[in-house]
């Protein structure tokens, strides 16, 4: 099953993802605007009604979650785009070349992680301008750490997207993926409410959502607060879960992709 990797092939597939992302300006604008609406309506609107969470404003509580939303949707869709590559024939061009499928999928995953993370950085800037973060020295390092974290979070979800895209062959399944995969992952990630404030069954569901750890870690980087549910070394647990999820999803995506029919 182990196939030789070609650096050049990985790089060129990655490059293609970046170029395509950069050319689809309307998609970038739409995604940034959507996050802006979420931040404005929920952060400012609902925040004014609810007050703060964990000693900070509601806006600064949900901002990392909204960034997480951009990462999640961007990365899963970027993985699922293998369906489009197949539909529009470009997949054949890649598969008939003398490079392994593993190289192609690694390029795809790196490319998807890079584009989704660029998206995340844009959203982080928007949230910053809206005053979601305290401008401190800690934030400077936190923001840098957040960028690394974004790459870690997204790689796993691109892998998930590739796994889904290699299994289903139908455009119409998109709606199902969105409803049954993306939204639950997003809603349970603790964007809008802290895990300590909800009933136990919901807490369990949230703990099963890998995105929850991603959002908690982003929040820790950007506003310094983290849930106490995970204990004093919560950040370490979160990191461990994300790395494990990554390995699992990249492996699964690669496996399913290399078995898929052209």
């Amino acid at each position: 099953m182990v196939q030789p990797l070609s650096g050049q092939a990985i790089y060129v597939v990655l490059l293609r993802e970046l170029k395509r992302y950069w050319r689809a300006k309307s998609r970038i604008v739409a995604s940034v605007a959507q996050s802006f609406f979420f931040l404005a309506v929920f952060g400012l609107g609902l925040g004014g009604f609810l007050g703060g969470v964990r000693g900070s404003t509601y806006l600064s509580y949900i901002a990392p979650g909204i960034i997480g939303m951009g990462l999640l949707f961007g990365s899963v869709f970027s993985g699922v785009s293998v369906i489009f590559d197949r539909q529009f024939g470009f997949m054949k061009e890649m598969l008939v070349a003398p490079v392994s499928r593993t190289s192609i999928i690694f390029g795809k995953i790196l490319g998807g992680a890079a584009t989704a993370s660029i998206q995340g950085v844009l959203l982080m800037a928007v949230a910053g301008v809206m005053g979601a973060f305290q401008p401190t020295v800690r934030l400077m390092f936190g923001a840098l750490a957040a960028i690394g974290l974004m790459l870690l979070i997204t790689a796993g979800f691109v892998g998930l997207g590739v796994a889904i895209g290699s299994t289903i062959t139908d455009f119409h399944a998109f709606q199902l993926i969105s409803t049954f995969v993306m939204w639950p992952l997003f809603m349970l990630s603790g964007v809008f409410f802290p895990i300590d404030a909800v009933p136990v069954p919901l807490q369990v569901a949230m703990l099963l959502d890998p995105m929850f750890y991603g959002v908690e870690l982003l929040r820790w980087c950007l506003s310094g607060s983290i849930t106490l549910v995970l204990g004093p070394f919560g950040w370490l647990i979160g990191l461990g879960v994300l790395i494990g999820f990554n390995a699992l999803m990249v492996g699964l995506g690669t496996y399913l992709f290399s078995r898929a029919e052209v």
Partner: protein
């Protein structure tokens, strides 16, 4: 595919000719390592398709039937992607891209997004891309499907130039007989996964001595009687029933007759000159897939026909056809049947196909989904400007 075997010479243009679903694309997919044969193997440029898939992939360029360009990238970027994927070093890559884009006359559009290209330009770009990595053999799967006659001609000329100037061996599939006739040194007629004939177009046509007289009737139901009557005449070599006249591409045939039939003689160089012998590049070997059960019998299809009213045409192979026409018309007239038209032509590959398989190559078959898919390709190829 059902146990096919053939060898190809270096520098040759070989055409796979057959109706939709005959197994042309399947064969190419196996030779290009995209599909694993269930049994048997083949050697491409001296490399085994099962043992050395990467070496095979390096030796071939593949222009697929469906478009495989990234339309969100420019022509140049599509080429660059390909060059990097095949590990061509930067300087050589850039020079080669420039060169190939010139060959297909796309240099001035190289930096435009492919989605702004016309169908013919996309096809040319795909051919240029398929040649970027100096393949020894180029596979062209229905290279002109859905293109207008003018673009088709220009693609043909590009293919011939590549074959001549770059010394590239070419295998192409087509269901246009005039394409095989114009381009190919040898044509391989394939039907139901089997090879039914393999020879130069000229020799294939020469097998049918005499002329083809096509009779089209107003009333389809009379056709069986007339056929029975004509079958008794010993000067008629063979009779085939088709839905429409087998002579409806007379125009394009005239065009390349005037241009002097450039293919013919080149194919005289030894056919099937021994597997693996001397400097013969070997492509082919035994390829086997489970045979699909034919879903119809030949006579049945012809009698029932596919369009409303059933077949309306009889194709007769006769000696000295021009002199026989009055006699044929008289016979039909005496039987009290109304003729719509009579056509006379020299045997073409269409007729060869008809006599070897009993069917007209243009009589569509294949699944409904396949039809829709092809319809889509044709539409895409005509493309937005």
């Amino acid at each position: 595919m059902d146990g096919i075997s053939f060898a190809l010479e270096k520098g040759e243009i070989l055409g796979f000719l057959g109706p939709n679903g005959a197994g042309k694309t399947t064969t190419l997919n196996m030779l290009s390592t995209l599909l694993r044969p269930t049994s048997g193997t083949a050697t491409v440029n001296g490399h085994d398709i099962i043992e050395e898939p990467d070496a095979v992939r390096r030796s071939i360029g593949f222009v697929f039937q469906d478009p495989t360009l990234d339309i969100e990238l420019t022509g140049n970027e599509n080429m660059d992607f390909h060059g990097r994927l095949y590990g061509i070093k930067k300087d050589l890559r850039q020079q080669r891209i420039k060169e190939m884009l010139e060959v297909v006359q796309l240099s001035d559009r190289a930096d435009d997004l492919v989605k702004t290209y016309s169908g013919g330009m996309k096809r040319r770009l795909e051919i240029a891309r398929g040649l970027l990595h100096y393949p020894k053999i180029l596979f062209l799967d229905e290279p002109t499907l859905g293109l207008d006659p003018q673009t088709r001609r220009s693609i043909w000329e590009h293919i011939q130039r590549l074959n001549r100037d770059e010394d590239i061996t070419i295998i192409l599939t087509t269901h246009y007989t005039e394409e095989a006739d114009y381009l190919c040194d040898r044509a391989l007629i394939i039907d139901f996964g089997k090879i039914v004939a393999l020879d130069t177009p000229d020799r294939l046509k020469a097998r049918l001595e005499g002329d083809v007289v096509s009779l089209t009737f107003k009333e389809p139901k009379e056709i069986a009687n007339i056929r029975a009557m004509l079958e008794k005449k010993d000067w008629i070599r063979s009779i085939n029933t088709t839905i429409s006249s087998n002579a409806h591409n007379t125009m394009s045939r005239m065009m390349h007759t005037m241009r002097g039939m450039p293919t013919g003689e080149a194919g005289m160089s030894g056919m099937m000159s021994g597997l693996g012998g001397g400097d013969v590049r070997q492509v082919g070997g035994m390829l086997k897939r489970p045979r699909q059960t034919p879903t119809h019998d030949k006579a049945g299809e012809n009698d029932r026909g596919g369009s409303e009213g059933g077949p309306r045409c009889l194709n007769l192979l006769v000696d000295d056809g021009g002199r026989r026409i009055p006699e044929i018309v008289k016979l039909v007239d005496e039987a009290g049947v109304v003729l719509e038209s009579v056509e006379l032509h020299k045997p073409t590959l269409d007729d060869v196909f008809l006599t070897t398989t009993g069917r007209n190559i243009r009589d569509e078959r294949g699944s409904f989904m396949e039809m829709i898919r092809r319809h889509r390709i044709v539409r895409q190829a005509r493309g937005r400007r």
